[in-house]
């Protein structure tokens, strides 16, 4: 067996150790979590015990910089993660606002599509909440909700709405994929990955319902637009694509 897993665990443990020892961050973390989560955390903190104190000393700067109590001017691991989390948060705000406006507009008459839109909206709102909390845990501040402009798309009717929804979700999936390897904290990575695949599910489903084939006609359409291997997009590429929707 490789010795590496030990390192993984010490990183994890030390991050949790910080949480355990810092009453303010712990309080905030616990408040953020539901009952089950809080119980789970308590269990985890107890399980990690005190036998890892020596490894805590070798904690990467990513972990120490990410605690709210430590504020450093220099960009660090926590800084990179905060940037990525805020980028994801902005995209999730955009998506959530889109579905909210679409549903409010009453333009979608098909009950099946309406139900899907509601279900996706719920997911996106949960992503917003979680990312906001994560940004704060990393020392904040969390990105502000952007002003959006979907009037033209919504006025375009159900077909345009569906096509835009599919593009936005494909963008979301490509955006998360583009950042995965840059994320420093394993916890933030795990969280981002669990959102990444949900965005991909949305994208595939919307494309299918929009009547797009596996490949689609444009790069961001199609249920499986890139073939067997998804293509990542950089922040610049994604922001270029979402610009029309930002007011």
């Amino acid at each position: 067996m490789a010795p590496e897993p030990t390192n993984e665990l010490s990183m994890k443990t030390s991050a949790l150790g910080t949480l355990r020892d810092d009453p303010t961050s712990r309080k905030r973390f616990l408040r953020m979590m539901g009952g089950g989560g809080a119980a789970g955390l308590a269990l985890l903190l107890a399980a990690c015990g005190d036998d890892d104190e020596d490894t805590a000393a070798t904690t990467s700067t990513a972990d120490t910089a990410s605690t709210p109590s430590t504020s450093t001017a220099e960009p660090s691991g926590g800084g990179v993660d905060l940037e990525i989390v805020n980028y994801a948060l902005t995209l999730e705000y955009l998506e959530a606002d889109f579905y909210k406006k679409v549903i409010e507009s009453g333009m979608v008459k098909d009950p099946k599509i309406g139900a899907l839109a509601m279900s996706i909206l719920k997911n996106e709102e949960e992503h917003v909440d979680a990312l906001k909390a994560t940004a704060e845990m990393l020392g904040g501040p969390a990105a502000e909700k952007p002003e959006t402009n979907f009037e033209e798309v919504i006025a375009g009717g159900p077909k345009m709405i569906l096509a835009t929804a599919a593009v936005v979700e494909n963008l979301g999936a490509a955006a998360y994929l583009g950042q995965a390897a840059r994320i420093q904290s394993k916890d933030v990575l795990a969280a981002a990955l669990s959102i990444h695949t949900v965005e991909a599910r949305h994208a595939a489903a919307l494309n299918k319902i929009a009547g797009n084939g596996f490949k689609g006609d444009e790069p961001l359409t199609g249920t499986i637009p890139d073939g067997p291997f998804a293509k990542p997009m950089s922040m610049e590429e994604v922001l270029e694509q979402v610009k029309p929707f930002l007011a």
Binding site: A2, A47, A190, A191, S194, A203, K208
Partner: protein, 212 residues
């Protein structure tokens, strides 16, 4: 150190067991703590781990086993499931081709890292092809399990290139899962945060189909 004991879900729970925001930040930690603390290791994974040339190779061999399983599953489905109509047949062939491509890519990556790719497991899909509904239900399990397996293992990957490569595959697994779920009339993304599974949880889900 000890780890909180995760429950081993039944096959059916793989599809429905959701995670909420309350537990999502913890999951990475839980996965990291349990992946290498497996209590029950089946022979095929034991084989995979024994051949490993390091953490990444072990994870890739684990993924390769799953992809072999999926590829063989769809290959057989094309021939054995009666009543696959145009749309479902087209989807099945697409999934088969994607999984074969994943097998090839993982095999090549393992060799590149100096590891030895595991052989394809011997499989028996039992009654999974007895009807279109049974087939889609099993496909649903495979795809959702695939997503949770990659998501659970990915934070353990050390090489950033390998992590990116795994990401390009798991996104496709998620798309497959959504399409299969739609074909079943199910919600494509029933939970806001896809579940992560540890190796032994994944094993429990796929064990019924592995003969060796």
């Amino acid at each position: 150190m000890t780890h909180p004991q995760l429950t081993t879900p039944e096959l059916a729970e793989i599809q429905v067991h959701g995670f909420t925001r309350s537990s999502f930040i913890l999951r990475g930690a839980l996965a990291a703590g349990t992946v290498y603390g497996m209590s029950a290791v089946s022979p095929f994974v034991g084989h995979a781990l024994a051949q490993g040339g390091g953490g990444d190779v072990d994870i890739l061999n684990f993924a390769l086993t799953l992809e072999y399983l999926e590829a063989t599953f769809y290959k057989e489905a094309v021939d054995k499931v009666s009543g696959l109509d145009g749309d479902t047949l087209k989807l099945t062939k697409q999934l088969r081709d994607d999984e074969v491509a994943h097998v090839d890519a993982l095999t090549a990556t393992i060799k590149k890292l100096g590891g030895e790719p595991v052989p394809a497991p011997k499989v028996d899909f039992g009654k999974a092809f007895a009807s279109k509904a049974a087939y889609l239900k099993t496909a649903n399990v495979f795809e959702d399990t695939g997503v949770s397996a990659y998501n659970g293992a990915a934070p353990m990957i050390e090489n950033k290139d390998v992590l990116s490569a795994a990401g390009t595959i798991v996104q496709i697994e998620a798309r497959h899962a959504a399409l299969i779920r739609l074909a079943r009339g199910k919600e494509p993304a029933p939970i806001a945060f896809d579940k992560t599974s540890t190796m032994d949880e994944v094993l429990t889900a796929v064990k019924p189909f592995i003969k060796s």
